[in-house]
């Protein structure tokens, strides 16, 4: 299990306008590319010194590859990171203000306190 790596995916995609669009259009391909090419890059460190051990488990990879944000919530991905990125990708598809945000809440409505642990 790697809550950290899920968060790293959400974080590094969210801050890059091109990756936001790429993930919106091709979630599975983007996740596979990112896990192969980017997952082990230490931010602020040259690629020659990258890590060697980071990978998603199957449930995490599948949740990311299917834009399944309720599953990401259940797996303990940081809710702020997930919300911010998914708003960037999908708010535009909803004509009403907050339409996407309210659907997001509704799709998580089966979760009750205590929520899944987000500590990394």
């Amino acid at each position: 299990m790697s809550k950290y790596l899920m968060n790293k995916f959400l974080y590094t995609v969210d801050r890059d306008p091109e990756l936001v669009e790429r993930y919106r259009e091709d979630p599975r391909g983007t996740v596979e590319w990112w896990e192969a090419e980017r997952a082990n890059g230490i931010l602020n460190v040259l690629s020659a010194e990258q890590s060697s051990w980071l990978k998603f488990d199957d449930a995490e990879r599948e949740a990311l590859a299917t834009h399944d944000y309720p599953a990401l919530f259940g797996l303990g991905a940081h809710p702020f990171l997930a919300l911010t990125l998914f708003i960037a990708m999908f708010e535009r598809d909803y004509p009403e203000p907050l339409g996407f945000q309210l659907e997001y809440a509704q799709r998580l409505s089966h979760y009750a306190l205590p929520y899944p642990d987000i500590a990394t």
Binding site: P79, L102, Y104, Q106, I118
Partner: protein, 287 residues
């Protein structure tokens, strides 16, 4: 020695800028009331005639990341760029630029370290909406030099609530021991009950109005003891999964001092979260 000209605690709502500048059909129905309240709140800083602003906020996973996460960090730089692409994208926030007050940064770091706080520091910090929101609401000219201080309210494990209060007390003491005659306003922003990325988000009110009512009372009356008695790292999940932002209000209660009634208190019940605004004048009134 420096004077603490005002202590100000506020929510930071990234939608204020867009709401207050929008016109016509885009202007939300609550915008005029919100602007009126912010304009009145702004006067409480203007009246303090501050020369320098210490700004306490929290990076929202912009420059600070989980591979190297400080609990408390003081900016020490001559300048600060501010706001990020994803804040421009989601909230319409403008890019901003501030001058730093490096002497005060150095003083807070030196005396803070000596007081037992192992403060991290940054010599190149791009700051985010936790600091720019109060600048937009309270000092839109952005013409005063700043010292930004970041706290971790976001990425567990967090320090205990009492540590935020103690940090606030330390900041107050250290600012008051800064040589010179500058007038310093200490401004910090946090949240009342708030849910982000969870099932209770974006409701017609904040997720826990009862918590908000109690929290406003604690802050307005300076009741640190009661706040510490009722708030724990565990309990803060209950009012909403982003309510740990309340820890920065507790820090500001530490700055203001135990039992210190706020001189100015206002709030605004909005969708999603309650806004709350507090100002203390430590020596009883502005200069």
């Amino acid at each position: 020695m420096a004077t603490v000209a005002a202590v100000i605690a506020s929510t930071h709502h990234p939608f204020y800028y867009r709401a207050s500048t929008s016109t016509g059909e885009d202007r939300p129905p609550f915008a005029d009331e919100w602007v009126a309240k912010i304009t009145a709140f702004r006067q409480t800083l203007t009246r303090a005639n501050a020369d320098v602003l210490v700004l306490v906020g929290s990076d929202h996973f912009h420059q600070l990341w989980l591979d190297n996460m400080p609990q408390f960090l003081v900016g020490k730089a001559p300048f600060y760029d501010a706001n990020w692409y994803n804040e421009e994208r989601e909230f319409g926030l403008p890019r901003m630029f501030f001058t730093g007050q490096e002497d005060l940064s150095a003083h807070i770091l030196r005396d803070g370290l000596d007081a037992g706080f192992d403060l991290a520091f940054s010599n190149e910090l791009r700051i985010d909406h936790s600091v720019t929101c109060p600048m937009i609401t309270l000092r839109p000219e952005a013409d005063l030099p700043i010292v930004p201080i970041y706290t971790n309210i976001f990425a567990p494990p967090l320090p205990q609530p009492k540590r935020y209060v103690q940090l606030g007390q330390m900041i107050r003491e250290v600012v008051e021991s800064w040589p010179g005659d500058q007038r310093v306003a200490i401004i910090g922003t946090g949240h009342l009950s708030l849910e982000l990325g969870g099932p209770r988000q974006f409701g017609p009110h904040g997720p826990d109005p009862e918590f908000d009512r109690k929290a406003v009372e604690w802050i307005a009356s300076g009741d640190i003891e009661k706040a510490l008695g009722e708030v724990s790292l565990e309990s803060l999940w209950e009012p909403g999964n982003a309510t740990h932002g309340f820890l920065d209000f507790m820090l500001m209660m530490g700055v203001a001092g135990a039992g210190q009634q706020a001189d100015y208190v206002d709030s605004l019940d909005l969708f999603h979260t309650m806004e709350a605004y507090f100002t203390w004048y430590p020596k009883g009134g502005p200069a």
